[in-house]
Subunit: 325 residues, 2 copies
Amino acid sequence: MAATIRDVARASGVHVSTVSRTFSAPHLVNPETRNRVLAIAEDLGYRPNRAARALTTGRTHNLGLIVADISNPFFPPLIKAAQAHARLRDYHVFVADTDEDPQVEEELIQTLTKQVDGVLLCSPRLSNRAIEKLGEDVPFVVVNRRLKGMSTVLMDVGNGARLAIEHLMTLGHRRIALLAGPAGSWTSREMSDAARAMDGIELSILGPNSPTEHGGLAAADAVLAADVTAVLAYNDLMAIGLVEGLDERGVEVPGRISVVGVDDIVPGRLTRPKLTTVAMPTEAAGRTAVDLLLQLVGAGETATPALATLATHLIIRDSTGPVPP
Amino acid sequence: MAATIRDVARASGVHVSTVSRTFSAPHLVNPETRNRVLAIAEDLGYRPNRAARALTTGRTHNLGLIVADISNPFFPPLIKAAQAHARLRDYHVFVADTDEDPQVEEELIQTLTKQVDGVLLCSPRLSNRAIEKLGEDVPFVVVNRRLKGMSTVLMDVGNGARLAIEHLMTLGHRRIALLAGPAGSWTSREMSDAARAMDGIELSILGPNSPTEHGGLAAADAVLAADVTAVLAYNDLMAIGLVEGLDERGVEVPGRISVVGVDDIVPGRLTRPKLTTVAMPTEAAGRTAVDLLLQLVGAGETATPALATLATHLIIRDSTGPVPP
DNA sequence: GGAAGTTCTGCAACCGGTTGCATGAAACAT
DNA sequence: ATGTTTCATGCAACCGGTTGCAGAACTTCC
């Protein structure tokens, strides 16, 4: 069995409270005693039990990270960054996948609540009301969704869409389609709002569509029917699917139609043509979310929700080119 | 503040122990009392505190999952499956990324130990000795590494390599290259052992190589110099890189050279040509690992390590074709 | 009608820490 | 020499549960 604080106390002839303080408030104990205790603790392989500590302090030093789908290539970099960032601050993180199911999401949050100091919700599927309700029990930071009264991390896809369209305009494109995402998506709405606000282009909005490779593939005919020279897709998976669909129909990318995606997921760098895309700051989002969350945790009841908007940028690769003559 | 067991006890006029039993040993309490307690608990929004429970029972109902790199596309499906499987058994899982650093790995295991009932180590970078040492403190299951005396989940890449080569032979290929992975890799060794044991082919082993897209790209010249008609790569990333490198040199895949990868990661399904590959049962590995781990946890000290070997299979797509005339 | 079981509930100690308060000793001020 | 601080440590209650033991109430059996 692992050594406990009492084993250390016995072995070093001091009271358990002294051992406790040696670890959690070292300045309160005589350097001499402290060193002796530390030496013996080291010797016994003692490590404080975080769960036990949490019981009295109310701080578990754990975070929860809830995502809709771990294997969606968009999330792993975020998870990785969040986890690494948390570790530097001496926090461990529970990662849970809801499988896009709001019910699972809710249950997960509820069972996790007691074990964590805060929860990171990425692209939640739960209703606003449900989230607000759950937010009473545990601090939240929401990523990729606007929620009043909650700390939020957003990625500026509106500006990303603008950058993409400007890039297309520079290449001479004027008739541009926006391949929209799922109906309720905040991201999708941001993109179309931004696109609609741009002057000098003729915009067709196609969709809603399923945000998958298949969704893009299925939209190929609609794109052709729209008679455009360039397409901005809701995400890279759709863009990849679209390129594939166009290819099947003998339409060259970017020869006849230019395609821009959003996300900058790994596969986009590996397909041919390599995808021009709006890069989402996923790592930064993970780190920022952890920062906001710990800030919230530290502030206790007095916490004020913060909003972080992170910049996106355009990565120009090979799926965009000059408008054909 | 969230309701505790004492709040429920007070509100329902019974002793805390009765409330406790209502949740952890329902058959010991009178159905009438039980229902009353349950109703009041529900009313108060009471949920047992797992950390507190762990203190007395010694079971945290948490698992640790340690991987070298979350954003390596190979891992997310495994993480997802493991997490989902664990959830069904009422376990939460800490996910930690070591960034390929053995030191971080060790530290992570040590700090996690007290908070989990067991740890899943995926493709560990730690020395065998270190792992065995740490294994004294907490049950382990190791994925993708052979370790005596420890529960292990392996994927049968040897047979995968055989299947791939047989497929190539059916297509008429005889001069085949194996693009090896990193020097110390168990997987790489399994593959080359299997390939060497096959009759009727002329095998060139090229490498070791970095197991990345870049590693594959950089190997293009070596492949051409080897004068082969087909290549089996250590993993999909390398295969994709190789296809790219060959393309740059005007060599058609599969027209002049066929390429087979290993892993079946998402990008391989999206590149063109779509990659023929040996699918690794990553989801099954995640589930199996959790099963073995919980088995170990349940057995306590008397646990006997188990070894699971999972079958791989070949997925034929577009990067392999008949040997050119 | 009393002994022997059952079934249910309460009591209290315990898990591994933390922390407010009390105490004793040493250091300083007067 | 005395009073006042400061410093280091011990004491004991507490965090939110679990569990062995004991006893009360109720059955069952002879």
